[in-house]
Symmetry: C2
Subunit: 335 residues, 2 copies
DNA sequence: GATAAGGGCGAGAGCGCTCTCACAGGAAGC
DNA sequence: GCTTCCTGTGAGAGCGCTCTCGCCCTTATC
């Protein structure tokens, strides 16, 4: 087996002519080893091509070097992943922080059915902690009870520490932006009720509606382009005079723009459309979507930083503001 | 510490009144334990809430339970991740297979600079194997030398086992499709030369150009919408009479459609556009893109299946065909 | 020069598990 | 009733590493 050929720390110690303890000290850059021996050990490491065995390290030290990322598909019909680049942004935000620490990233993409059991499993593992990137509040709370080292990226149970986007604030800002452009008959297309993000965006929309004295004209859809398309058609049927649409995600907004165009409405002249997420969909739509960008990378990085630091306060909540990205799908009304 | 409260297999054995060996047998569902003791052990496990320690398992058995997924950003300017849902599809294809085995997924998103060192690190780890989802041939070959349990999802050095999409065949089919629609002045927009996928698509295009006696009118761009947009403008400037464009990825194709529209060309009446990948961009563009869909999930699943089976043959290569997805960006010429 | 103090170093005990081996006890064969 | 062969079980030796001790040698202090 190649396994037996893998050099161990004992080999390093023998070659360097030191004890295993000293070799360990040098390898882990711990104090208590003289410069002379340090050099000898480093030499031996290089000569043998020695690489520490992660499993043995984890076992002996009890110090975990893994960050779990957990996503339970609760929103998207085709599973949590599919076409969603959100998770790519999450991972991209985390990697730079982990690179320095030697910690590694374990990804769990769970179906809703297998989630409960899998979470039990994960919570028992030796881990720096888990980042919940998509999960229902009930599952999050359950997981948090089993394992305290948890940070959520989505709004969940109040006890679970969270780095969340200000979805409500973003939705409020989006609608307010439309209002500021002179739009008054602003409709909304919301995401599925099971998604807490969608729920918060709904709240923000409602707040803006009340603030600006608008009518609450809303439709629901799954977070899909097709859903947005259909919802827009239905909305247009009931309210042919609408002059703006707030859409809870860009993918749906793409469908909305397509439906509006198909129905002979000009975007943005007749109807302004604002999306949410600033995903790749936003720039592919014609015209490119004005949207609310969430600092997903920053949130993910903050979550990892919290886990690495170790002092995780239950109930902690950081709110990350959404930022308006103006493109061409919004503007003042023109006839 | 909560750590000391975590029950061990010895606790289970004691509570069940059996030896550690028997407890281990039952927990691992190994033969050689009677039904009576099995029940007692299971009872003890449930009572204590025992969960095996992964690190200890890995160390004692030497049997790895981790699959590494490695992506080195060599193509995309904003890093390998960013807006690319490709990796989501890769992970989605893998998860179902791993779920049953208890193996876990470790993701490494490396910058091109840190890649070499990180690959050394990873290759030394105890792992079922690594799936290379984006990497240069040189790095892949180097990694393969260090660690035999490797499967690539992109075309790389010939020795590295690979589950790759038939990029050349897909490009050939795409151009042939355009030709079949009656298009004769077909331009191409290729991806960056460093990407082996882009290179293969280029080859397929060239093959089709030769087969159908077309002129080789090509431009290069990064795999971005902006790149596609600019390349299309340049192409249109040099060849104002082109009647079709083969674009090496959907995101670029989105830019191409936008450029064509901005220049007063109708898609598909004046110019047909065909993309590649069937990513989310394809359905957001107006008109929705005809594109070549790659069975990414299947490829990823096949890679994992190979790693799990263990018999990885150097040089093995499975080719997965690309499938034409017809939408509205292609059609016969109309004036 | 004796004692104290301190830092470098090695011995060795685990970490929690797997797995080999030896052994007990019962069934089968002569 | 003896040997032979199972099959079920337990003892115990590691897996490769970390980390606590305690030893020893050096340096400071009187």
């Amino acid at each position: 087996m190649s396994r037996s050929k893998q050099p161990t720390i004992d080999d390093v110690a023998r070659v360097a002519g030191v004890s295993r303890a000293t070799a360990s000290r040098v390898i882990n850059n711990a104090p208590g080893a003289s410069g002379l021996l340090r050099a000898r050990v480093h030499e031996a490491v290089a000569e043998l091509g020695y690489r520490p065995n992660e499993a043995a390290r984890a076992l002996a030290s009890g110090r975990p070097r893994v960050v779990d990322v957990i996503a339970v598909s609760c929103n998207l019909p085709g599973g949590w992943l599919g076409s969603n680049p959100y998770y790519s942004r999450v991972l991209a935000g985390m990697m730079p922080l982990l690179e320095g620490t030697g910690a590694q990233l374990r990804v769990h993409a769970l179906s809703h059915e297998s989630a409960a059991e899998a979470l039990d499993e994960i919570s028992a593992g030796v881990t720096l902690g888990a980042v919940l990137s998509d999960i229902t509040p009930a599952l999050a709370a359950r997981f948090h009870r089993l394992c305290r080292r948890v940070v959520s990226l989505v709004p969940t149970a109040a006890t679970v520490p969270a780095m969340v986007a200000d979805n409500a604030g973003g939705a409020y800002a989006a609608v307010t932006h439309l209002h500021g452009l002179g739009r008054r008959r602003i409709a909304a297309i919301h995401g599925p009720a099971i998604s807490t993000c969608a729920a918060d965006r709904r709240i923000g929309h409602l707040r803006a509606v009340q603030r600006w004295g608008l009518a609450d004209v809303s439709a629901d859809a799954g977070f899909t382009r097709e859903g947005g398309y259909q919802a827009a058609l239905a909305l247009l049927d009931r309210h042919p005079d609408l002059d703006a649409v707030f859409v809870a995600c860009d993918l749906m907004a793409a469908g909305v723009v397509q439906a509006l165009t198909a129905c002979g409405r000009r975007v943005p002249e007749d109807v302004s459309v604002i999306g949410f997420d600033d995903s790749v969909a936003a720039i592919c739509v014609n015209p490119p979507l004005t949207t609310m960008r969430l600092p997903v990378e920053e949130m993910a990085a903050a979550a990892v930083r919290l886990l690495l630091s170790g002092d995780i306060v239950p109930g902690h909540r950081s709110l990350f503001p959404a930022e308006l990205v103006e493109r061409e799908s919004t503007g003042a009304p023109k006839s």
